[in-house]
Subunit: 335 residues, 4 copies
């Protein structure tokens, strides 16, 4: 058990507010399968945070949240359009294909994890042909996999294109807290024509929980049966929802992400290597040769090369100023 | 939030040993996706409890655990043989079909939730024909859905039949703790030719966690990829494994089940209605007309009619002697 | 190669009208994947026969036609309601589950292969619960698996119940020709609220071809992509459509079915065993002990026991009067 | 109905040998679902042509043949390695994902449709990680999508790499006849460690039929149930197998492909545009601007731009010398 890690923002445990809420809501008996009052309260809090009416569910896995959403929006002989480095394209073992029964993915280019509108136009202008899986939904990620943050206008530029072609939109917000901490207005989401939003709890400081927000309530019919069949409707639902109560009521969902972002900024200030993408959320991606990388790992800082060849450093709610300083010193030493 | 419930054994929260372990293992940073030391230790403890070498994984949902197991043992044009009232047949929204890609179920008869060996013989003696999904795996449940417990010999009578035909075996042990508390020797499992065992954590007192035990290590190759694609490999794996450490090290996994079983026995002693199945685990099934059932519910005791028409009363680790006595009094009053 | 068979109506080859049309439309070059003029003409002829506007596709397999249809009407966590002895329930190796990705089946009772309206009412009145696959489509079969024929009124009694609950309807017409030959008005189908109709070509005398009729044109969008992905959009589509031109233009689709039905009537007149179901199409189901059945098989008449325990005799377009007489004599001899 | 087409080799009808065999084997009654004597004879002829023992099935669709094969060789959380322009990657609407339940594809580079061994090495040397679909089978195509033909040695160089890593091999031989006509020794296949071979009938001159050859007989168990569930086991199986009898017994399978290849050579001799890939089978791919392409289409020669941007001209068994000459003249005119 290490006392720091920059490998991912999921190497941390849960923040105190999440853990305390789990303990607090453990007492007594409740009904099962997400019909309990703890889950109802957490859903209300999520709606309040979004300033929107929507149906909300809590699941244990971001991969499942994304894949179930894609399956809800598309048919097997269709495809989801996403950034080529989106988590659903590169890190989820083909889960959209499993839950979507062969559902395809159309990977799009774009700098720093943001879909290039021209690439989206090109994909959406392809004619429907029987031998190809045509785009049927758009999937966005905010904050992106490269720690950049779409502005409301940038998202609207993409969702409006999708909507003009009749495509519903999925937003993977595994790191939405970090985007909001950067300045993205969470209350703007309701007007952005997003059909399904995933709000990350795990990376924001929860134990394991992601919120599925159905802005399009037409998707809600039998959604619990969809989740149950998909293995995402655990009986003791309160353990997925309680962390949200703790984190939203206390403001930790936001405050903890602000801290994580601030740690990334601090690290950027100490970084001797070229930073490749704008540091807007809680990640840095830097150009670094194998030699110094190995030397850094030898000093106990295990970090990865990412999809684009850079080395990724992630901060989380649990990253301390002191550990950033130690990392900064180590980076300087191996440089 | 009620202070008692006999509707299910999953209406309780987590037992103190589970919660304390979650809190205790929350500190510090770990690697993700089940590669952490907490998960490694929990797996060791499960192996110790079974006195067996086996690969162990922890997932958030019993439905997923069962369905992923069925998918691992069969191909889509085959079928799983199970008791007609097994959870996979009646309560999982067709999850084996989703994860198994159309995988079929062959429901078998048998008294009190136990498969009749003659019914199994009949199913296994059917010729392979192209237009039917032939049996490819046997699924058992212990304790059964009717609160009865298979003996080692009874299980062997079924698994030996399956093995003689080349079928692997899945054992749904959502309530294995209750079976063991009744006297089933958990260390006998390793010699019973079971390929995949699910050990229930949730109903035994965990927050949400089920252990998948791969006795057949030939199934282990790429099993993590299988789980990841299935949305059952959450990043912060320690929250699925920590409860096992708390419950096994303290003996709570067994002691809490013994308590639940004892509460069922106590309730049996107070029950004015005919009890349909032997009370061996933590459940009672009684013949009860609609009138008294409604009257009982009006008194705050919400319980269900089960698949066989009886009314089911479930006890759990959290059921108190006092609540059983209150229920007994209420039953007497509505009789 | 036998010169008679009563085992099935698919043991015959193709009728001359079908074969001649294949040969006639083989010449020259056409576009592929069902976009050819042969297919367009056949689709027009089907529409003409139905006196209805509808989108029409031709596929090589009735199992695929049914399963793709079920998948088009339902989602994986839902179920198709059908007669318990419907072909999709008993003879298609779980194909609806494969193409429907775990889609369930709810088998209903009913005499002689017709769904009992009360059984349908019961199924449709079940509450939606997350742990069960709720009915999402009704599947009917006409003529039924027992050689009986639904009247227009009987079908309306069922489809109106389905529609009242919002369920679309699939009609498996593998032996629709035999139903029509019995008096069922094919032009009544368009007013019966059927969303997808399968018209059998194979059993009616084609080589191998089934017509998928999309009365609900809302289903047509990307249906060719659906078929292509499902392996049901062969490049040389004319070989699936040409037989329909030959059979509809000549009247053979009807005349050949009339002959098959007449042969069944003739056999009924010679049958020394009790006939179980009304002989309305091209099949007889009789009570017959194993002794005479074996003796009959020994005489070269291979026939099966069917799902309900009766022995099934099928006639087809190719069944001759003389072979019926020989069978009659053989039956008399083994009695 | 045109009397020529260079758009594809599936725009032609069936060759006389195929049609005559269909007519010849139409008489009399046979058993169904591929158990008939016509299918048995055709399978023997295929085995004879391969000089190999193997199980053989006939299906109506090449897409289904490929996808069912991929599903038989891999699990959903794994991937098939194939050339990036292989038919399964670009033209089958994600069918491997449907039949393989989310099965992934790993597209590889390589000149003129042949997989670069170094690219295969790179793919196979990737470590197994839980978040990625690891290669589990190699899929080759011969003749390739670019009308080139792998030599026996070139195939061995790829299959030996696959086998060294434990991967089974699928060979898509939709145009195997054209490869063999170019000089590829069909009897060498049996020693090339191929597990499933698809031999194209349709493009070789059959109506609609592809042969699935299971060199690995371990795959045969319940393969008919696999096909039935997949909608690829039509009852009147003789219509899928008879063409093979006609084409193999007469030598047409080879002779017709030799003709198609010769027509491509003749066209190459007349081609005024740069030819991009070696003309070894029945296709030409040429560099051609939009202007002349449109002009050519206006003259009645409809041809496509292919995946790599070239314009594709396909010859078939039905392509006449005269039509090639007319095309040559038209090309000259629009140049």
């Amino acid at each position: 058990m290490a006392d720091y890690s920059f490998a991912s923002d999921n190497t941390a445990g849960a923040c105190p507010e999440a853990i305390e809420a789990i303990v607090a809501h453990n007492a007594g008996f409740t009904s099962g399968y997400g019909t309990d009052h703890v889950t109802a309260k957490a859903a209300d809090l999520v709606r309040g945070m979004l300033d929107a009416d929507a149906d909300v569910r809590f699941v244990a896995s971001g991969t499942a949240a994304n894949a179930v959403s894609c399956a809800a929006l598309c048919r097997p002989f269709e495809a989801v359009v996403a950034h080529e480095h989106a988590h659903i394209c590169t890190d989820e073992t083909g889960a959209p294909g499993l839950f979507g029964h062969g559902l395809g993915l159309v990977p799009l280019k774009g700098a720093s994890g943001k879909i290039d509108p021209a690439a989206l136009d090109a994909a959406l202008s392809q004619p429907d042909v029987s031998y190809r899986q045509s785009p049927a939904a758009l999937s966005l990620t905010n904050a992106t996999e490269y720690g950049t943050v779409y502005s409301v206008e940038e998202i609207r530029a993409l969702t409006s294109r999708a909507k003009a072609k009749g495509l519903p939109v999925h937003l993977d917000g595994a790191r939405l807290a970090n985007a909001v901490a950067h300045g993205f207005d969470i209350r703007a989401l309701k007007a952005l024509d997003i059909d399904i939003l995933i709000i990350g709890g795990t990376k924001a400081g929860a134990s394991l929980s992601e919120a599925i927000v159905l802005f399009d309530k037409g998707l809600s019919r039998r959604f619990d049966a969809r989740l149950k069949q998909a293995g995402q409707l655990p009986s003791k639902g309160r353990f997925l929802s309680a962390p949200w109560i703790g984190m939203i009521e206390s403001g930790a969902w936001m405050a903890r992400a602000q801290h994580a972002n601030a740690m990334a900024q601090k690290l950027a200030g100490l970084m001797p290597y070229p930073i490749r993408h704008a540091v807007q959320a809680n990640a840095l991606f830097v150009d670094m040769e194998d030699g110094p990388l190995e030397a850094l790992r030898a000093k106990g800082f295990f970090v990865y090369r990412f999809t684009d060849g850079t080395v990724r450093f992630m901060c989380s709610w649990a990253t301390t100023e002191e550990s950033v300083e130690r990392l900064g010193a180590a980076l300087k030493a191996v440089g």
